[in-house]
Amino acid sequence: MSNEQEPATVPEEQQKAAAGADAPGEAPDLLKDSSRRLLFKRAMVGGGAALLGGAGAYGAARVSLEGRPVKDYPLIDETLFKPKDQRDTILNFVSSKALNEKHPERNEQYNRLQNKEFDWVNGFRDMYSKPWDNNKPGYTQMDRALQKAGWEPLNIAGSRLSANLQPDTPFNSWDQSGVEKEQYQFKSKQEASDAIKTAARLFGAVKCGIARRDRRWDYDPLYDIENEKELSWEKDFPFEPKTVIVILLPMDYDCISTAPAWTADGTAADGYTQMGVKATQIATFLHVMGYHAVGAGNDLGSSVPYAIMAGLGEGGRNGHLLAPGMGPRVRIAKVYTDLDFVEYDQPHTWGITEFCLSCGKCADACPSEAIPKLEDENGGYGFQPSYEFSDEPGYTWNNHLGIRKFYSDAKKCYNFWVENGGACSACIASCTFNEPDAWHHWFIMAINPFSPGFLHGLMAEAHPAFGYGHTNDPTKPLKFWKTGEGMRTNIQMKNNIGTSNKS
């Protein structure tokens, strides 16, 4: 057992050779020196082992990042579950005067329980008219300009309400007159899948998955907010969808870091614009291939479960999709199509939801306390909400009950948006999975599925300790407005996927 014995013995002549004690005028023959040969041999073995070890670790990490297929998603409680009426969603409700007049009890109950005097409809209208303060970082004229500029393409296209679930807007039009009569016949399902994902990649998606159309995730009935009219999938929708293509569009790391300042809304608004543009591009791609297709942003169906079904991520405590490598810092667009000769993706796990059970950083960062906390019943994870007042009759009207997940009180979230004068994103910025694009974050992501629960808690604490995920920091908007430095050359070739390296 001792290390102190058995010193390696080196023959005398070899020691001389090693010391260069050959005859004068003769070059020492290093290869004849057995101690040197032994050193080189062992160095080669050690180097080879290091190379193999490194390659093995890299390969294992790549396999881990693929995720593990899951068969038990979704877990549904049939006694609670029913299709979600589009009208019973926050963003739809606050955009509709008729629905507000029809359900005054919703506003009255919220204001009574939360001790507020909140005006739901006018609140949404006035959100972006709150005056700026050029002495308050993140709430200046420049930040307001960024917000409005982000939305403007949707305004020009007449598609702004698509963010509030309005179906059949110009970007996500139901018009199928452009569908070619000749239908392209794919040689295989894999070819179809590859073609769709290639188009999505070209147009700017950071991830793309394909799911079967699932009526459980479609809003039913649909609702035309502009005309205050109920719509039916069978009577009004132009075809019977078989497949839903889901694309993820990145938001800027440095911009989201400024949350809940107006600055962060710049990338969120731009994300909505990109959703409209990319979804309509993929829909048009399918039209010219001879298939019916309709793009969708937040409308038609619930985006998070569709993205999970397409294998793009897992559901998080904050109610967002958490995608490996970006966490919740993505926007989701969908394309409904009747093309069904395609290779479907399936739900995968990376241990993300499991991690959320031990984390809770988004709940701590949420200014409106809308997100369930660790100390809530079952950590806020279950088939129905457990947040404050969720046992009051009718209070959970906005939630889709019966699905095992984390339930947030989106009413409080939206209330804060209006008070803040812009969407918040604090739960995105603070998420432990919201990481810049660098090898060490991918490494943590790769080992996450194999980490025990106590290590998840430790990693959740380490994230802010290492300087990530802080919100409500007035220095962040100042730093963000410097991230344009170096854009003439941009030698990092980084833009809005990871940090711009100026954070």
Binding site: M1, S2, N3, E4, Q5, E6, P7, A8, S35, L38, L39, R42, A43, V45, G46, G47, A50, P436, D437, A438, W439, H440, A465, F466, G467, Y468, Q492, G498, T499, S500, N501, K502, S503
Partner: protein
């Protein structure tokens, strides 16, 4: 810069391999001593890689803490291993 980091870490890794290989030619150590030395070297290199990547992404706090936590633990492990396992063996060899 990421490529430069990879190159620099590769050089450091090969220097570490050479050092350990040299050690193996002059002294015979137990498996657990080798395990400690290799783990310590990997931890030191991991911390340096973390530091570099964190500075590149603009998070020096992460880099500094990563260096302390990972490389610090590695250096600590190497020092203890050297002090209590490698050092006495070397001393015994010199006296012998």
């Amino acid at each position: 810069m990421e490529i430069l980091m990879g190159f620099f870490l590769g050089v450091l890794a090969m220097m570490s391999v050479m050092g350990l290989a040299y050690l193996s030619t002059i002294i015979k150590l137990e498996w657990y001593t080798w395990s400690s030395l290799v783990t310590g070297v990997i931890a030191v290199l991991f911390g340096i890689g973390w530091l570099w990547a964190s500075f590149l992404e603009g998070y020096p706090q992460s880099g500094s803490l990563g260096l302390i936590v990972f490389s610090g633990a590695g250096v600590f492990m190497l020092v203890l291993t050297w002090r209590f396992l490698v050092g006495p063996a070397l001393e015994h060899r010199t006296k012998g």
